[in-house]
Symmetry: C2
Subunit: 203 residues, 2 copies
DNA sequence: GCGACACCATACTTTAGCGTATGGTCAAGC
DNA sequence: GCTTGACCATACGCTAAAGTATGGTGTCGC
């Protein structure tokens, strides 16, 4: 599958001058965890299957991480930081608030990779590590969108409701995308996004 | 939890004149499966835990069903029939198409039980039994809403897009409801629904 | 050129759930 | 009052994955 590598969060690791043969780092495991998380869900983030995928045994894994839970924690931390940096921050650069919301919708409707992880996380809300994360991320995003709507001239209550609606539609869409439900061509999709923006931000 | 019993689909079973001591029927297992499905997701619909919950052993289960998969199939069939009958059919009774969409939103925003099952199903889209079901149900519902929008005067493309948006928002909302994300009072929720309707069906 | 350390393999033990085999019990009907 | 059959218990084998224990190997600093 498309292994959409993220750049390492920590600056070039101390020993990363010339990576010897096939040795793995903790970051490699985290990245692999995010890959299968996006592909096959949290349940598939299992130690032995991951080891097989990476061509090693779990002897390797338990050197880098004390437990499976620690890997998941590290992986979603990595995802959260990356997401914050690559989807939220760029939007905040746009000055005009009205255009900002439009840009947010467009932006978010195209980055397919990070959304797959997010969709997978939504399927594991019962897990103690995941629930709080999704709640925190969602709250942050809804607040952000709400703020954008207010700056666009909507009164606080209307802004909050539109933000909720928009975010719910986003969450629902990435879920439905997995059943091949939006049987749309690229043009239809673009038209849908245009309508989406028109409906939420009239005039 | 609230054991919102469904009425048996098949007319009163042959031997149900006076149920002897504690014996279970296949329908009991299906209902219990739906309960834990709504509470704890599909993974929790496991034979032995279910048996413990019902106060029996799995010896009982394997008399009623050949396999776990058969139970799940029967349970979701039951859910689908019930859902079709209790949420879709009543809506179709409303004549005015505009009011029909409004009623659909209101209706759907209050029946808390069936939605919990639906939310759980969305978390198991990868499962071969669940994916096609959710796809089928979603297609049916989107088509239904699309049709309602067209009857309300929208052109076909706009109607389809608004139906997609509305349904996505619905799906997203029941997901978010599980993280306690919409920290709304009852009044706030009602106001949200009013805004929801206003935004999607202007004028 | 050698010891130390990072990285990995092998070989366990444990746990939880699926499924099977088989025998027990209790109510109904003849 | 004895048999039948619906319903359930008990005991077993199988599988996959989580951890643990321990030993092996290459590569670096010195």
């Amino acid at each position: 599958m498309h292994t959409w590598r993220m750049e390492p969060i920590n600056a070039p690791s101390p020993r990363a001058k010339l990576d010897q043969r096939n040795r793995l780092s903790a970051a490699d495991w985290e990245q692999a965890a995010l890959d299968v998380l996006a592909e096959s869900g949290l349940a598939a983030v299992a130690v032995e299957p991951l080891a097989r995928r990476l061509g090693v045994t779990k002897g390797s894994f338990y050197w880098h991480f004390p437990t499976r839970e620690a890997l998941i924690q590290a992986a979603i931390d990595r995802w959260e930081r990356n997401d914050e940096e690559h989807v939220i921050a760029p939007i905040e650069a746009v000055s005009d608030p009205r255009e900002r919301v439009r840009e947010l919708v467009r932006q978010v409707s195209h980055k397919h990779q990070s959304h797959a992880v997010f969709a997978a996380l939504f399927k594991a809300l019962d897990q103690p590590l995941i629930g709080p994360l999704v709640e925190r991320v969602s709250q942050r995003r809804i607040d952000f969108v709400t703020d954008a709507f207010r700056q666009a001239g909507f009164d606080p209550v209307t802004a909050a409701n539109r933000a909720r609606l928009a975010y719910s539609a986003y969450v629902g869409f990435i879920q439905l995308a997995q059943v091949g439900q939006p049987r749309m061509s690229h043009e239809e999709f673009e038209a849908y996004i245009r309508d989406f923006i028109e409906i939420l931000i009239p005039r």
